[in-house]
């Protein structure tokens, strides 16, 4: 106790992180199991990774997932920035509260509901407009954008809220006009939040199974769909290897996003601390 280590807190921490990460760790370890039996350890091997690389169905699904995630993340970020700008800049317009509640509704909406409603929309649109013709990659991108942009808007909004408006006025004073001010001043300053929003939307899209299963069509199975259908036939070490790779991808983007957000807020704090004149609000 003398060094300030509180043993109960330490144990609680260990138990908490254990619950979170022991299953994942076990899965990662078994992805290096040389045995085909999932529960029997028979020595270290990377052969399942090798087999995975030769599995065209999985590789194709991975490619589709990445394509969907990149597009959905990009669209989500563009729309998210627009939503955030509207809410932060337009001040207190009528129905603001209602609209902002509506904008964040998809964050808490059950995925089954989102998926089903989008499916019904796409079918109705196909009947009325002839587009989208069937369901495939495009519909998944649209579906992922609808919820991704809400997350993106939340991330960007929090950065925009403590954005110093006077720097935009300074740009206007120095002869700049919109949209030049937005691209030369606003966007670079909120860039860390925009990148974080993109990575978040990417991760959400890459992970999504439920919504994608509703709006995907034949031949447009994303990686989570392929994994899920494989698991139904029994868990193989190959799936463990695939899951490990997905964890790596997702973890990497989450780590990058948090690092960007952290570095940015630390930089702002440091700027505020020196000279006392760096306050941005």
């Amino acid at each position: 106790m003398t060094r300030g280590i509180s043993w109960p807190a330490l144990w609680l921490g260990i138990i908490g992180f254990g619950i979170l990460y022991v299953p994942v760790t076990v899965m990662v370890i078994y992805s290096f199991n040389s045995s085909r039996l999932v529960s029997v350890w028979a020595g270290f091997s990377t052969k399942w990774y090798g087999e995975l690389l030769e599995n065209d169905a999985v590789l194709e699904a991975l490619g589709k997932s990445l394509w969907v995630a990149v597009n959905a993340a990009t669209l989500s970020t563009v729309f998210g920035v627009l939503i955030a700008l509207a809410f932060v800049r337009l001040g207190n317009f009528r129905f603001r509260l209602l609209l902002s509640a509506l904008a964040s509704m998809p964050l808490v909406m059950p995925e089954v509901v989102t998926g089903l409603s989008l499916l019904l929309l796409f079918i109705a649109m196909e009947g009325l407009l002839g587009w989208p013709a069937g369901r495939g990659i495009d519909t998944i991108i649209i579906a992922h954008t609808t919820f991704g942009m809400c997350f993106a808007a939340v991330v960007v909004q929090s950065r925009l809220r403590d954005f110093d408006m006077s720097i935009e006025e300074a740009a206007a004073d120095l002869g700049a006009r919109q949209p030049y001010i937005f691209f030369s001043i606003t966007l670079p300053v909120i860039a860390p939040a925009v990148i974080a929003a993109w990575l978040l939307a990417f991760t959400l899209s890459f992970d999504d199974l439920v919504i994608a299963s509703f709006v995907s069509g034949p031949g447009s199975s994303t990686l989570p769909i392929v994994v899920f259908s494989k698991v139904r036939l029994g868990v193989t070490p190959e799936i463990n290897a695939l899951a490990t790779i997905m964890i790596l991808l997702v973890a990497a983007s989450v780590v990058i996003a948090s690092a960007i957000i952290y570095r940015n807020s630390a930089g702002r704090k440091a700027a505020a601390a020196t000279g006392g004149s760096g306050h941005e609000s």
Binding site: I167, A171, S184
Partner: protein
């Protein structure tokens, strides 16, 4: 151009909801002036500045700069630049790019931009710092970058919103003189907004004191201090003691005023016997000694409070009828020890130093 002032603000009003921020205000400013708008926070001085820059619209009245009506001119094309209170430097750009931003918008050739940036950095004594980012600079350096950036487009008018408020006291004093020096060298018209009366006195050739959206008095610092128009100005600029009384007689350019302390004052004109008057006397214009000198305006007082500040001692003394006088004695008399608490002495002031207030 002759005859018409460089900046003409005519009957300008600006409301925010029910609050009248600027109330039917008119003001002329000449070319090359260093004009100071002084007032407590919320008096409308920043709103007026933002209207000059074009960030706030004018509800009624007009603003003319160099003979051109500004009502339809957007901030980007006004011959005006503003230095913001928090400097508003672009945090993602280097010092060089910050200063060059407005020059690039003006479409100047690259070589000219570079030479102007170098010249401006020299002007604000930041040569060699051009490659730094704002967060790598001290508060004083940031202030100078903001000044250089605002001057880059060679505005006809530079607006400065509390330019020194974010600096510590020592740095502020040095920077004040620097700012005046730069203004004199460039001969640009400066309008400075500040709530700090000492800052306004040091910087400005003319000060406009604002209260509740109106200009109360516009004068040189010395006139404002020595001849305040009313008790608001007298109280706002420095310390004063107020005396009340009734004019007993007015003859030979002198007023005899009855009150708890009878006062002889130089008649500024316009007072007659029987008028109620309010007078103000600056603390450094009252002398204090142990012995009676026997002159006019001498009153027996008791020291209630005394504070030694180094350069001087500040006293609060009570006269007849409990009237309190605030006075300052320079710390230079040798020999005679200064008066202490509870001692009695004589306070005296010259009839010419009595300011008669009209409010």
């Amino acid at each position: 151009m002759t005859g018409s002032p460089f900046i003409r603000i005519s009957n300008v009003t600006r409301r925010f909801g029910d609050v009248v921020a600027v109330d039917d205000l008119s003001l002329d400013i000449d070319k090359g002036e260093l004009f100071c708008l002084l007032g407590a926070s919320g008096c409308g001085k920043t709103t007026l500045l933002r209207m000059l820059a074009g960030f706030e619209s004018v509800d009624s009245g007009s603003i003319e700069i160099d003979g051109i009506d500004m009502s339809r001119v957007p901030p980007a094309t006004r011959p005006v630049n503003i230095m913001f209170q928090n400097y508003a430097l672009f945090p993602h750009m280097t010092v060089d790019s910050n200063i060059a931003y407005g020059l690039k918008r003006a479409g100047l050739p690259r070589a000219e931009i570079e030479s102007r940036v170098t010249e401006l950095l020299r002007l604000v004594r930041l040569s060699g710092m051009g490659g730094r980012k704002p967060h790598q600079l001290s508060g004083g350096q940031r202030q100078r970058v903001a000044l250089a950036r605002a001057l880059a487009r060679r505005p006809k008018l530079l607006l400065l919103d509390e330019p020194l408020a974010a600096l510590d006291k020592k740095l502020r004093e040095d920077t004040q003189f620097e700012l005046v020096d730069i203004q004199e060298r460039l001969e640009t018209t400066f309008i400075v907004v500040t709530h700090d009366q000492e800052e306004a006195m040091t910087l400005a050739s003319r000060i406009g004191v604002m209260d509740a959206g109106k200009l109360v008095q516009v004068d040189s610092p010395r006139t404002l201090y020595d001849r305040p128009k009313n008790s608001f100005i007298a109280d706002f600029l420095g310390t004063v003691s107020f005396l009340e009384g009734k004019v007993k007689s007015a003859k030979g350019g002198m007023l005899q005023i009855d009150g708890p302390i009878p006062v002889t004052a130089v008649d500024p004109g316009g007072f007659a016997a029987g008028d109620d008057v309010r007078m103000a006397i600056r603390p450094e214009k009252i002398s204090l000694s142990r012995e009676s000198g026997g002159g006019v305006n001498e009153v027996k007082v008791m020291v209630e409070d005394m504070a030694f500040t180094g350069v001087a001692s500040n006293y609060r003394v009570a006269g007849p009828g409990g009237v309190l006088l605030k006075l300052t004695q320079p710390n230079m008399r040798r020999g005679e020890p200064a008066l202490e608490w509870e001692e009695t002495g004589y306070a005296a002031f010259d009839p010419a130093d009595v300011v008669l207030l009209r409010d």
